[in-house]
């Protein structure tokens, strides 16, 4: 407690329990390619926050810094009250068990069955499952949540893109995370399947009360699911607000997002 306070220059009054994710002054570049240039963001408990940005604007980079998959050049990333940069591997893994991550391309393990895919997060995050000997009911529950209980023994290659996304969603929620990160949950899907996924995301949030950070460039998805939005432009949080506020803005950079 004491050491942390001295080093981390965070405002004390904001460190309430309500804040799930705080990103402060995030910088990340690859060579000459400056991707993030001082991005700021706060996600509160139970909230659905959408971050929108053009392709290549650094949305995935930002979300990867959040779970420690990428190390930022500068800036503070706090998740569930922990400063990511200060955690050792064991603590980082434990923190990750409270975070669900839906990857942009589903990222199902293609050498494993659906069931093995879902069991995979449980093999190391044992602490969360002390006393659980049979993982089958948990797998079943997660699959039922996404309406695909019958696919348990199939291989990913036997599934359609939409089914894969749903299985990936089931895998992301199997640890009952407090926070779910969605990296373009609807990309590459037809509008109807996209709607189904959005529906699932909402029902999961209702059922488990999770906070969600949704990254997308799909305006429809943002409109339906967001309570608050941040527009990522030129590596910073260019604009912030509810969908209705942003859609009526006169700023051309903001407008560009909503033009069909």
């Amino acid at each position: 407690m004491d050491v942390k306070e001295n080093i981390a220059p965070l405002q004390k009054e904001n460190t309430s329990e309500e804040i799930v994710v705080r990103i402060q002054d995030l910088y990340k570049s690859f060579g000459d390619n400056k991707v993030l240039n001082g991005f700021n963001m706060v996600l509160r408990k139970g909230e659905n926050l959408v971050v929108m940005g053009k392709s290549g604007s650094g949305k995935s980079v930002m979300i990867k810094c959040l779970v420690g998959l990428m190390v930022p050049d500068r800036g503070v990333v706090e998740v569930l009250g922990e400063d990511i940069a200060r955690l050792n591997q064991v603590d980082l893994d434990e923190l990750r068990s409270d975070i669900g991550f839906l990857f942009q391309g589903s990222a199902l393990y293609d050498s494993m069955t659906v069931r093995e895919n879902l069991e995979f997060p449980m093999r190391r995050h044992r602490k969360k499952f002390e006393g659980v000997t049979d993982t089958l009911p948990l797998v079943q529950e997660a699959l039922e949540n996404v309406g695909l209980a019958h696919t348990m023994d199939l291989m990913p290659e036997e599934l359609s893109g939409g089914m894969k996304r749903r299985i990936a969603l089931a895998r992301a929620i199997i640890l009952k995370p407090k926070l779910i990160l969605y990296d373009e949950p609807t990309s590459g899907l037809d509008p109807i399947t996209a709607k189904e996924i959005i529906g699932l995301m909402r029902s999961i949030q209702k059922k488990y009360g999770t906070s969600a950070l949704i990254i997308t460039h799909d305006v429809d998805c943002a409109r339906v699911i967001s309570e608050r939005m941040i527009l990522l432009v030129d590596g910073i949080n260019y604009a912030e607000g509810a969908y209705q506020e942003l859609v009526t803005s006169s700023d051309p950079k903001i407008n560009a997002f909503f033009k069909k």
């Binding site: 990750r96 990222a107 293609d110 190391r124 995050h125």
Partner: protein
């Protein structure tokens, strides 16, 4: 001038690559020595390595034994030394031809397989997904594969040797009326530990090189699906090249021991 610059650049890249590979190897030893150990995955990978290359090793082994014997026969007959055939072919197969041919075949099959597998897992974010799930992907994917290749290659070499000897004895049986029993007895009498031990040690190193380069290329795959093909391809080239370097060193070292 431009050519000289190009050559300097290529040479520089080559040494950087060797440095990276050495670092990767170091990381392997460090990770292989610390728990948790992924025994189940090691078993699975070992089975895969053996299963993938068994038929190919058998076919090439058989043909090499056959051809080697057929082509040596006339010369040996000329010198009236055809009864030395088992000794000559047997020793060259066990000491050099068997290990090198088997390793080359395996580098085409295993190194490229590892490169493609890990490369596609990298590109589709499966490796990231593993990391987020609290499983160390380097341990789970890389350590197991390198160990599997290292442990399985000597077995494949022995298998390839036996098939090659069988091919050779077939020629002797048909052309020289030498019984299989006599042939194999002569071969085993002629072989000493001085032939077997260096060949076996060498095979372990061959396996290690194949596993290492395959995993290295796959794990470091760049963004985009084109990277997967490049990874598989360069893995084979690099592995084959390194195999000859290792072979040269091995022959050199065992030669010193013979002199002692």
């Amino acid at each position: 001038m431009a050519m000289a610059l190009e050559m300097i650049k290529k040479t520089k890249e080559f040494f950087i690559e060797i440095g990276d590979l050495s670092y990767f190897a170091l990381r392997f030893f460090k990770q292989a020595a610390t728990p948790p150990f992924e025994f189940k995955e090691l078993l699975k990978q070992s089975y895969q390595v053996g299963n993938r290359s068994l038929l190919l090793v058998a076919t090439t082994g058989f043909i090499i034994g056959l051809v080697l014997t057929l082509q040596t026969r006339p010369t040996l007959i000329e010198f009236g030394a055809v009864s030395w055939m088992p000794n000559m072919v047997g020793i060259s197969i066990v000491r050099e031809v068997g290990p090198v041919i088997t390793a080359l075949i395996c580098s085409g099959k295993i190194a490229s397989g590892f490169g493609a597998e890990l490369g596609s897992m990298r590109v589709t974010e499966q490796i990231d997904a593993m990391e987020v799930s609290g499983t160390n992907p380097f341990k789970y994917l890389v350590v197991t594969r390198i160990l599997a290749a290292t442990l399985m290659l000597p077995l494949l070499v022995v298998f390839g040797d036996l098939i090659a000897l069988f091919g050779s004895s077939l020629v002797e049986f048909m052309k020289g009326n030498v019984s299989f029993r006599l042939y194999f007895n002569t071969v085993f009498d002629a072989l000493s530990y001085g032939d077997l031990i260096p060949a076996t040690i060498k095979s372990f190193f061959f396996g290690f090189v194949i596993g290492l380069t395959g995993c290295y290329k796959g794990y470091k795959t760049g963004r985009g699906t084109a990277g997967v093909g490049i990874a598989a391809n360069t893995a084979v080239v690099m592995a084959s090249l390194l195999l000859f370097v290792v072979d040269f060193i091995a022959v050199f070292v065992s030669d010193i021991f013979y002199e002692l």
